[in-house]
Amino acid sequence: MAESRTAQSPSSVVVFDDVTVRYGAGPKVLRNVSFTLGPGSFHFLVGASGAGKSTLLSLMYLAMAPAGGRVRIFDRDLSTLARRELPPLRRRIGVVFQDFRLLEHLSAMDNVALPLRVAGAPEVEVRQHVGELLSWVGLADQLHALPATLSGGQQQRVAIARAIIARPRLLLADEPTGNVDDTIAMRLMFLFQELNKMGTTVVIATHSDALVNRFNHRQLRIVEGSLRVIAREDDGIAGAA
């Protein structure tokens, strides 16, 4: 019952409460991180290389659990969720990985189709939607191409198409414009903004100051494992570390 309520109108998309992460017995990568992302907000996640941006994203796309503190996604406390309850949450999250993580043996079309197929969408619908989206990102003539035959920028667009094909409520992108020229980068940013306007909460990890300065969104800045929120406009953030 709780899930059906949160699926319709979560009061918050992401809530971190005093979250700490450490790998093994090493030092804390993230320490006492607290913040809240409301529905329809847009944030840049910034910080030096190795600051913990990817770790923070991993927590948000449910690839790892924190060593301490609480993480709530779509109003669900991860510490209380059973394994079988994770896939429905993950289907509402789109992720653009820094290394794309395309499946090398699958065509661009089949890579993009993955989120729909694991959700059990009818094959006709899958082919239609994937074809349309790949055309939109400029890969209409590469539907059946294997990732190895695509350029870095084309692979990145396939990865982005896979992240948004299922219309996620939360989009997490790790350096999504790192391998494309400025024109494509701008086009992708406008795509993310369009998704955001339709209600998707967007978090983009980047170390590009130019990108951050060009778009007027709040920043989640990680410095030495701690998170600082730099507000620009009121775009839905409700709290800060």
């Binding site: 394994r83 993950r90 992720v95 993955l114 989120p115 694991v118």
Partner: protein, 293 residues
């Protein structure tokens, strides 16, 4: 049925390529063991049916040949007066010669050996004949007469059939365990090789069942392929074994053959092996994935 092709390229795994050979060998061995026990069981049942309503009475050859006819008449008289006996007939010399031919060769009777007379006694169906009382009466009227109700012989055959059965069950069990171990090994190796893909599938929202279906489809395909090949080889072997004694004197070898139900059981073996492989792969995947987030 797109998932039969799968997002995980299991068909390219080197370990997976051996699975159908392993399952094929397992099915071959299991089929031979099963065929052995089924044929033995069928043979035992046939002998049981044939001998259960029959007795054989042996009348030793008397010292004086003239007494032979009298002793046989007395024995036949006792037998026909016995409740439950449908009829009794003396095995004539021609039939006796045929029975002894495998051991004594043609014209064995002419050798002058002291061969006893045999009386074949037919019992009424399911008649409860008191064999012990019959023995006593015959012993009194025809000294030296011996009643063979085949019980001892049938019990030996049944003991043999039980041993064959136990050995076959053990072989099938061991072969099944070995096949299960092979499937577990191949599945775990596949999980390790494709860890990165499986992690990605999880991250885009795949349930464990979605991943398990791909492993079980691959196990089913390979096991079915191997099982059919193993079964085909087993059929050739079984046919060769059942055909071979036909060139030898019938008296030495019992007829080992399979009926339609037995062939049906054997035909199910590849399906059973494939089902076991599929189930094993599924359980292995679920158990392994339960340990990851």
């Amino acid at each position: 049925m797109r998932w039969m092709h799968g997002d995980i390229p299991l068909g390219r795994d080197a370990t997976g390529r051996f699975l159908h050979w392993i399952v094929g060998l397992m099915v071959y061995l299991a089929a031979l063991a099963l065929a052995g026990t089924l044929a033995t069981e069928r043979m035992t049942q046939a002998w049981h049916l044939e001998l259960a309503d029959n007795l054989t009475v042996q009348i030793p050859a008397p010292a004086e040949a003239a007494l032979r006819g009298v002793r046989l008449e007395k024995a036949l008289g006792v037998l026909t007066d016995t409740p439950g006996v449908r009829g009794a007939r003396v095995i004539d010399d021609d039939e006796m010669a045929r029975l002894l031919e495998p051991w004594l060769g043609p014209g064995g009777l002419a050798l002058g050996l002291p061969i006893p007379d045999l009386i074949s006694v037919a019992l009424k169906p399911r008649a409860a004949v008191d064999v012990e009382a019959l023995r006593q009466r015959l012993g009194a009227d025809v000294p030296g007469a011996f009643v063979d109700d085949h019980r001892e012989w049938l019990e030996s055959i049944e003991r043999f059939a039980r041993v064959v059965n136990i050995v076959a069950v053990l072989i099938v069990a061991l072969v099944s365990l070995a096949a299960i171990a092979a499937v577990v090994f191949v599945t775990r190796t596949g999980l390790a090789i494709h860890r990165r893909i499986i992690d990605l599938l999880h991250l885009v929202g795949a349930q464990d069942d979605y991943i398990a279906r791909q492993f079980q489809a691959q196990a089913l395909r390979l096991a079915l392929l191997g099982g059919m090949a193993g079964m085909a080889c087993a059929l050739v072997t079984i046919l060769a074994v059942t055909m071979a004694p036909r060139h030898i004197d019938q008296g030495f070898f019992p007829t080992l053959s399979l009926g339609a139900p037995q062939w049906l059981v054997l035909a199910m073996l590849p399906l059973a092996a494939a089902s076991i492989a599929m189930l094993t792969a599924r359980v292995t995947v679920f158990r392994a994935l339960a340990r990851v987030l």
